[in-house]
Symmetry: C2
C-alpha cells in the first residue's frame, strides 16, 4: 500500500474554510487512490504570535520549557479541527499530539531534535483505513516533558514521520507551487524546477529561499525521503527534492539565491598572527551572534584585514563589540556596512565544470557591479555586493546561466 505524508503550514490552515478545503482534498485523494495518508499540520496562522504575546504579558523572558507547553497547544487545536472536518466528510480520522505519537526528542526546549518516533499506533490506524492527523512542531522527552522543534519544525515532523513510516513521498504543501530558479518577484522569468537535489536545496534554503526548513531537508536527505514542495491552493506537481540521478536536468546551475539580511564588518590592520581569528570571533559568538561569511585577506606588512558578515539585526551589537576589542587586538580600524546583500549561484553541475566562477564574475563586472566579498563551497559561489545591485545581479546571473530558458 502506498503511503504519503502531507504537511500543511500555518497559512494553509489559517481559517475554518481553509481547513475544510484541505479535508476535501484529502477525502478526495483517499477515496480515489485508497493510499494511506498521514497529515502533519502547523498552528493556525497568527496563533503562535498571539500566544507569544500572552506569555510576554506575564514575563519578558519566559522559560523555554513553559513556552513549549504553551505553543504546542497551537497545533493541537489544528489537529482536532482537521479531524472534525474529515469526519464531517465521512472519513475515519484520528488525531495525535507529538506526545501521543510519541515523537521522542532531546530536551533542548524551543529547538529540540527528534531522536525517535513510535510508529505502531499510526500503522494500526492506517491499516484500519484512518487518515492520521499529527501535530507538527512538537515532541516529548523520554521523561514525558513537552518540547517544540523550533521555527518551521512542522516540516521536520513531516519528514521524520515519512522516514519512520518509510513513506513513498513527503509532500510539503505551502503557499508557493514549487522551488524556483530564483525569486520571481526579483526575476519575472524565474521558472519552477521539476527536480532539485537535496544538496542544492540546502544551499538554496540556507541562502534565503525560505520554502523549507533546513533541518527537514537535511533529514530527508539523510534518510532518503523523496520530498515534494507544492501549493495548497493551486493544482500542480511542484518540485521534487531528491538525489541526483541520470534524468536530472543537466544545468550547471540550478538557481540563484540571495539574502538581504546581512551586514558586513571589518577589523582592519590587525596583526597577522596565529589565534587572531579566534580572538576576534570569541566575543562575537559569546554574544550569541551568528556569523555567515568570513574572509581574511593575505597579509601585507604583517597586518591583515578581517571581514565577516552577520545578520543585520546584530550589526550594531557587533560593531560595538569590535570597537571594544580593537585596541586590545592592536587593530587600526573598525569598518562596517549594513547596506549589502549576498547573491549566490547554486548547482551540483559546477562540481565537474571549471570556469563557473569566472563566468559569474565576468557577468557581474559587465554590468559594473563591484564584488566586495567572495566565498565558495563545492556547489555554490556567493558574492557580497552593494544592496542597490541586488535585482540587477540576480537577473544578470539568471540570464547568464541560461535559467530563463525552458
Amino acid at each position: 500500500m502506498s503511503l504519503y505524508v502531507h504537511k500543511y503550514g500555518g497559512t494553509s490552515v489559517g481559517t475554518s474554510e481553509k481547513i475544510q478545503n484541505i479535508a476535501q482534498k484529502l477525502a478526495h485523494e483517499k477515496n480515489k487512490t485508497g493510499y494511506d495518508l498521514v497529515v502533519v499540520v502547523s498552528a493556525m496562522r497568527g496563533e503562535t504570535d498571539r500566544m507569544t504575546k500572552l506569555a510576554r504579558g506575564i514575563q519578558a523572558a519566559p522559560s523555554a520549557k513553559q513556552m513549549d507547553v504553551l505553543l504546542s497547544t497551537g497545533e493541537q487545536v489544528t489537529i482536532s479541527l482537521l479531524c472534525m472536518a474529515l469526519e464531517a466528510l465521512g472519513q475515519k480520522a484520528v488525531s495525535y499530539t507529538g506526545s501521543q505519537v510519541k515523537i521522542i526528542t532531546d530536551d533542548s526546549h524551543g529547538k529540540a531534535r527528534i531522536e525517535d518516533i513510535e510508529t505502531a499506533k499510526i500503522k494500526a490506524d492506517l491499516d484500519d483505513g484512518r487518515i492520521v492527523v499529527v501535530a507538527g512542531f512538537q515532541g516529548v522527552t523520554a521523561d514525558g516533558i513537552i518540547t517544540t522543534l523550533g521555527r518551521g519544525g512542522s516540516d521536520t515532523t513531516a519528514v521524520a514521520l515519512a522516514a519512520a513510516l518509510k513513506a513513498d513521498e513527503c509532500r510539503i504543501y505551502t503557499d508557493v507551487d514549487g522551488v524556483y530558479t530564483t525569486d520571481p518577484r526579483v526575476e519575472p522569468k524565474a521558472r519552477r524546477l521539476d527536480k532539485i537535489t537535496f544538496e542544492e536545496m540546502l544551499e538554496m534554503a540556507s541562502l534565503g529561499s525560505k520554502i523549507l526548513q533546513i533541518r527537514s531537508v537535511e533529514f530527508a536527505g539523510k534518510y532518503n525521503v523523496p520530498l515534494r514542495v507544492l501549493s495548497t491552493f493551486i493544482e500542480g506537481d511542484g518540485t521534487l527534492i531528491t538525489y541526483e540521478d541520470d534524468d536530472m536536468e543537466k544545468a550547471l546551475i540550478s538557481g540563484i539565491a540571495f539574502n538581504r539580511d546581512e551586514a558586513k564588518v571589518t577589523l582592519s590592520g590587525v596583526q597577522d598572527m596565529p589565534g587572531i581569528a579566534s580572538a576576534i570571533l570569541k566575543p562575537i559568538s559569546a554574544a550569541n551572534i551568528e556569523i555567515d561569511m568570513i574572509v581574511q585577506n593575505i597579509a601585507e606588512d604583517k597586518t591583515t584585514d578581517f571581514t565577516f558578515t552577520v545578520h543585520r539585526n546584530d550589526y550594531d551589537k557587533t560593531m560595538k563589540i569590535l570597537q571594544n576589542i580593537r585596541a586590545q587586538l592592536g587593530a587600526q580600524k573598525v569598518l562596517g556596512d549594513d547596506k549589502i546583500v549576498k547573491v549566490s549561484i547554486v548547482g551540483v553541475g559546477m562540481r565537474s565544470h571549471a570556469g563557473i566562477a569566472g563566468q559569474m564574475f565576468t557577468a557581474l563586472a559587465d554590468e559594473g557591479i563591484n564584488i566586495q566579498m567572495i566565498s565558495t563551497s563545492e556547489i555554490k559561489i556567493s558574492v557580497v555586493v552593494d544592496e542597490k545591485y541586488l535585482e540587477l545581479a540576480v537577473r544578470t546571473l539568471h540570464e547568464s546561466f541560461g535559467l530563463s530558458q525552458e
Copy 2:
C-alpha cells in the same frame, strides 16, 4: 509537611494580570509557610467558548473525542502562563497536563470519570520544592486518548488530586467568598457559613447554588477531603465543607436553596395501575430530558394525577411527548406550567428534629404563598411555588429559621 491543593477557575485566570496576582499569592504563601502547593487551573475565561465556536465553524456536531483534543488546549495555555508568572517571581514551578500527570479516566468523552491518578512525579516535584501546576478538566484514557471531565471538571480534578495526594485541604478559589445561607441577591441578610457538611453542600449545589460542581463535592465526601470555598479576590477564610462534627453550628437549617429553571407538567386522570409511571417516564428519558421532582397523588376513582418537573428548556418538548402518549395511556388531560420555582430548605439538623416541615409550610402559608408540590429527603424539603413568590418565600424561610442572625 502540610500539602494544599488550590483550584482557580476561568474567571480567576481570565487575564495576564489575574494570573500574575495568583502567582504572587502563591509565592507569598510558599515563602511564608513552606507548605507543599499543588495548583489546578481552568482555561482562561472565554477560551472554551472561542474554541467551541471554531469547531462549530467546521462541523455542526463535532465528535466528542475531537472536542476533547481541542478544548484541553485551554488549560494547557493557563498552566504554562501560571508557571511563567511563578518563575518570574523566583519560584520553582512545574506544569502538567492531564495526560502528563497521568489522570486516567474512562473514555466517556466530554464527561469522563477519573479512575486513577499517578502521583509519583508530583510527589518528587513537591519534595524538590516546586509548586506543581496541573491542568484541570482533563485526563487521558489508559490508551493515551485525551478526555475531558465536562463542565466544572476542574473542581473534580482538584478534589481528586487532593484525595490522591492526601492533601490537608482542597481550596477552591472562585468569585464568591464562600457558601451563603442563601443567594445574597435575593436576601441581603444572607450570611456566609463558616462550615457546611458535604451532604448539605450537595443539596445546596444541586438545588442551584452553583458554586461547586456536584461531582467534586461527592468525590470530596467519599474520600474525606476537607474542601474550602473561598474568594480569589477578597481575603477571608471562606466556607469549609467537611463532615459533621461536634463544633458544627447547631442550626437546624443551614441554607435556603432555590431553582428558577424548572417547569411543571401533569398528566391527569391516568389509570392507577402498576407500570404506569414507567410508561409515562420512558419516552421522556428516551428524549434525553432530565426529570427532577416527581409527585403522584393517592388514587381516587382508580385514576391518579402524575406530576413532575423538568428544566424549562425542555418544557415544550415534554408537553408534546405527553400529548402524544395521553390517549394511549388513557389519561384525561395534559397540564403544564413553566412559571414555577423550587425553593428548598437544607440542613443536617432536620434529621433529629421533628416539626421542621410544619414550620416551613406555616411560614409560607402566613405569607399567602400556595404550595403546588412537595418533595422531601433526609436533609432537605423542597416546595414548588409560583415564580412570583420566589423572593418572598426565600426571605420568609431565611427569617423563620433564624439564618439572618449571627
